[in-house]
Every structure is written in C-alpha cells, then in structure tokens.
C-alpha cells in the first residue's frame, strides 16, 4: 500500500519564452535623480551593447510562479529520503547556509589583498586542519572542485613524486568494485588501467594483488568502504604490498561517511585521498553544487601539492607561491570557497563526537534496511556492510522485473530511486544508502514500500513494469531521445 504520498494537482508550466510578452517587467526602479547620460556618447558606440534579442519578458509574479511550479515537479532531500547508493545524499543543515552568508565571507573577493583577507584565509586554514585531523593525513589542498577533480589531482601528485624519483611507472590497479570515475581518472593522468577482480566477499583478493603489483605499477586506487559498502578489512596489508614494491595507495574517499570519526585512512597506510565535501560534509549535492574535492596527502607528497599554499608568516596568513616541485594550480583561486565554509560549519557544529555519531547512525540505518529487506531481495554478498547495502534483482527478474522497474515503481511510493545497476559486479544491482539523515519512521516507510513492491512483482509484475503511474510523465522514450535527440526549443 502506498502510504507516504497521494496524487494532487500539479500545474503545467510553459517555458519562460512562451510566457513572454513585450513590455512586461518584473522590477520597478525609482525616478532618476541625476542628469541622464547617453552611454554611446560617453563610452563610444562600439562599447554599448544592443538590446538582447528574444530575451523573455515576464512580470514578477509570473517569474515567481514559473520557478515555484517547476520546483513542484522535482524531488529533493527536503521532500524526503534520497537513497541513492554511493552518493551520500544527506540533508544540508540550514546553519551551513547561515554561516556561508556571513557578510565578510559572502562578499570576499579573491583579488582582495592578503591583509584584508585574513578572516577568509583563517577559515581555509581551519578547514585544512579539520580535514587533516579527520583523515589522519599530513596536509590538504582545498583547490579541487569535485571528487573526480580530486582524483586527478591525487594521481598527478603520485606521478610527480614518482617522476622525481626517476620513473613515473605505467599502470594503476583498480579493483572491479571501485567507483566508475577511477578508470577515467587514471587514463586522464596518462596511466594505463589494470582491473583486479574481487573475491567472493566483495573484497580485494590479496593473493591476486601480490601477483599483480610489479615495478610498473604506480599505484592502487581503492574505494574504502567499496561500492558494495564493504570495508576492506585487509587495507593495512594492501598498503604494505604496494609500498613494498615502491607503489602508492590512492583512496577514493567518496564513502568517507562510513569512516569519519571511527577510523582514519592516514593510519592504515593510504598515501593520498580525496574527500567529497558535498557528500560527507553536507554541502549541496547535485544541481550543480558546486562540489568540493579536497585532496589529503602524506608528508612525502606535500611538496607537490597545487600552489599557492597557505603559510603562516609573522602573525598573518600569506600565500606561498615558491613551490618549485608543485604540480601547479588545478583550479583558479582557492577552491569553491563558499562550499568550504559550509563544510567547516558542519564540522564545527558536530564536533568530533557528533561526526562519530553521524557515522554510526549512517551505518546503523544501512544495516537496518539490509536486515529488513533481506527476506524479500537477493543479497549476493554476505559480508557485513557499512553505510550502504547492495541487493540484486535476481528473484524479481525471474518474473521479468528488473532493478530499473522496481526503482520506477518506488517513485509511485514517494521516494527517489536507489542507485540502479551499479556496482557492475552485482547483476541487476539495487544500491541503497540512507545516510544518518533519515529517522526510523521514514526508513520504515521506505522498507514497507520495497516490500510492497516485491509482493506486487509476485502478484502483478505488469504493474511494476509499467511504473511510474502517479507521476506527471511516465516512461519516456529514452531510446529515441538518445538516437534522434531534439536539442533546440525551436528549429
């Protein structure tokens, strides 16, 4: 039974261009109280732009209604649970927004002189310090703008360090349970990917690893916990194997929501890692974010970090550009500053004990869901999980219903779908990550929805295969959209 939602009137909405009529405006300016100036005469006609042709003209209430109506067509974490596995779609506390809007921070300009930027620089230093403490690493760069950007920065650091020793090496090992961005990063950094198979517990196979690491291997890129939500229990040994052969360990920190406050990658031997502030540290995620993917390194990689580096000099913060071994800038200015402020607000509002509690709650929620759904959905990997759990559609596909169908039916129950068909090592995966955000009530509604769908699959599989039924649009023709895309509003 669908308990969480019922259908209600949702208004159609035209494009702003279609609402437009000449002369409508959404503003009212006061009378000009200085003599008017002819811009063309003052600046030269060549410097004055013509009116923008075709720009929509609407009134204030039309603009407000337009975007409000569109927002009701959407689903967001502020409506309810967003269980996308591997994405850590946690609630973004409003205190983050309040802090980020502090006048001196919100209006800071990157070209302000250092003397006028000490407060903002102090914020950056505090973020670096907090992330060093949380990861157990030695130094952090805040420049990378997102996770994959952090990955690339990390691999370029490894390349620079190995090159400084005389040989950058050729290959990077990636377990088949890794994040999908990892192979792309490796290729972009000029390395060759070699995949290594997981064992039946969904973990890196040590014997295979011993065999695969040779003098051509620059690094292993490992996601821990991996995309099955399983903690690599042998991570210390894995790091030892790589180090013994002069290679390094890159940890994809996308799943850091399972570790924060409990264990530290720096302590188990990782050389370099990134964090997704838009996942673990509750900064906006999706919709363009923007994200932030700080990279944390051990001491030996510190000389290669992007410049400039924050440095304390004579009681004040300064930017240090004298970094001869640096890989150079990876982004303009100093990272997505507003996002870094939000992450710091989150970290400080929680404190160490609060971050630890959040992690434990996230793990508890995932394991609760796993236990509740295990009687209804196939669980291919039985190892204990951390912050997410992965089922397969094995039982349902026998009735012709695949993971994508179940996900679409879940929309009818008022939930955003889980992650579909990933990780690839699970056939027909349902990957669920509740995060610590959700209460037991919301999780129970979610569990009941999936149980109800499992029963529907038994009784009336066609109902599930044709879902969603209660949305504004049901299944769109993805194939024609991809084969014959219409990319313009008007020809």
């Amino acid at each position: 039974m669908i308990r969480k939602v019922r259908s209600h009137v949702s208004q159609n909405e035209s494009l702003l261009f279609e609402l437009s009529a000449p002369g409508k405006v959404a503003y009212q300016l006061p009378e000009l109280d200085v003599p008017p100036v002819d811009a063309a005469a003052a600046l030269g006609a060549a410097n004055v732009r013509d009116e923008v042709a075709g720009f929509p003209e609407v009134s204030e209430v039309e603009a407000i209604r337009h975007f409000t109506r569109l927002s009701t067509h959407n689903y967001a974490i502020d409506y309810g649970m967003y269980p996308l596995g591997s994405c850590t779609m946690k609630y973004n506390p409003r205190i983050n927004e309040a802090v980020a809007r502090t006048e001196g921070l919100a209006w800071a300009h990157p070209y302000q002189p250092e003397a006028l930027s000490q407060g903002a620089m102090d914020v950056l230093a505090k973020v670096e310090d907090a992330l060093v403490e949380i990861t157990g690493m030695d130094a952090v760069t805040l420049q990378p703008a997102a996770g994959a950007h952090g990955e690339l920065t990390g691999l370029l650091l490894i390349r620079a360090a190995l090159e400084a020793q005389g040989n950058p090496r050729q290959t990077v090992l990636i377990p088949d349970s890794a994040h999908g961005t990892n192979p792309a990063t490796v290729t972009t950094a000029g390395y060759v990917v070699r995949n290594i198979a997981s064992n039946d517990r969904g973990m890196v196979d040590l014997a295979a690893l011993e065999r695969d690491v040779d003098e051509n291997v620059a690094a292993l890129m490992v996601t821990n916990p991996n995309t099955l939500g399983v903690f690599e229990g042998n991570i210390t040994r894995i790091c030892e194997i790589l180090h013994a052969r002069g290679a390094m360990v890159y940890m994809d920190g996308a799943n850091m929501n399972a570790l924060t406050g409990i264990t530290r990658p720096g302590d188990f031997g990782v050389d370099v890692m990134h964090l997704n502030l838009h996942k673990t540290f509750s900064t906006p995620h999706g919709g363009g974010g923007p994200g932030a993917g700080p990279v944390a390194v051990k001491k030996r990689l510190e000389p290669f970090l992007p410049l400039p580096r924050l440095r304390r000099a004579a009681e004040a913060w300064t930017w240090d550009y004298d970094r001869p071994q640096s890989i150079g800038r990876v982004r303009a200015f100093y990272g997505n500053f507003g996002v870094l402020v939000r992450a710091l607000a989150y970290i400080m509002a929680h404190g160490g004990e609060g971050l630890r509690r959040a992690t434990l709650d996230a793990i508890l929620n995932a394991n609760y869901i796993r236990k509740k759904l295990e009687p209804y959905y196939d669980l291919p990997h039985k190892a204990p999980v951390m912050h997410e759990c992965v089922f397969s559609d094995d039982r349902q596909s026998a009735r012709g219903v695949r993971t994508g169908d179940i996900a679409k039916r879940l929309i009818d129950y008022g939930f955003h779908p889980y992650t579909v068909s990933f990780p690839l090592i699970v056939h027909g995966a349902l990957m669920i990550e509740p995060t610590e955000t959700e209460s037991k009530q919301e999780i129970d509604l979610f569990v009941d929805a999936l149980i109800s769908i499992a029963k529907e699959v038994e009784e009336d599989p066609e109902l599930v295969k044709a879902a969603p039924h209660n949305t504004r649009v049901s299944r769109i023709d993805e194939v024609t959209a991809a084969r014959k895309p219409i990319l313009r509003w008007r020809p």
């Binding site: 068909s421 993805e478 194939v479 991809a482 084969r483």
Partner: protein
C-alpha cells in the same frame, strides 16, 4: 543463432575470416546485455587495432561500453551504416551490423579464440 564458422572472444565480439581479411562485430549476447544501442563509435580505415585493446565503443541507454578487437591488424573498412542506424546492432548483430573489416597481421591469431561450442559453454557459465 551463433554462426558455426565464426570465432568468439570473452568480451563478446565475433570474428569471421576470409583470406587475410577478418570481419568483426559484437555478439547477440552482448547486444542483449547492452539493451537498445543508440550510438556506435568505430575506428577508421588505416587505424591499427590490437588484440585485447579497445577499438571503439557502443552506447546504449544504459551505458557506454568498449568494443575490444579480438585480433591485431589494420582496419580496411568500417560499417558507416551503423552511424545512422545503430539499432541494426540490436536487430542483426551477426550479419548486417558487422563493425569493422581488418587486415590481419597474424592470421593464426584467430585460432586462439573460442569456437561456437566453446562460446556457448562460456555463456552457459554466465547464467
């Protein structure tokens, strides 16, 4: 379904040899797993392809997947019809939707690939 005179790779490509020219495509199993194909990216005549290395990609509504060359050689022709009609890969993967014709460097290389019986057994192991 799977022609007897073709050889098959573990990555689900098929190959059939005529003299020193081999024709390569993806198998029916591959197109079923991928779902509706929406785009095919192939190497151009004159390009080199190497056994086990990616030579192009196929995009379905689900994912983009590499197409691996089962042999080493030089591309002499690629199937331009697939650019406009990628759905042919779903409709006739072993025939009309051939992807490239390759001049083999070592014609013997084909013998290391799976026969139809081997491939059917390999697929059975995937069930």
């Amino acid at each position: 379904m799977y022609p007897d005179n073709y050889r098959y790779s573990k990555e689900h490509e098929w190959i059939v040899v005529d003299g020193e020219i081999a024709t390569i495509g993806i198998t029916d199993y591959a197109q079923q797993e991928l779902g509706d194909i929406v785009y095919v990216d192939l190497p151009r005549p004159g390009d080199s392809v190497a056994a086990g290395k990616s030579m192009g990609s196929v995009e379905s509504v689900k994912a983009v997947s590499d197409v691996y060359s089962p042999v080493t050689g030089e591309v002499v022709e690629s199937n331009a019809a697939l650019t406009d009609s990628p759905e042919k890969v779903n409709q006739d993967p072993h025939g009309e939707a051939w992807m490239v014709k390759v001049k083999l460097f070592a014609p013997d290389e084909v013998n290391s690939l799976m026969t139809v019986a081997d491939y059917k057994e390999y697929l059975a192991g995937k069930e």
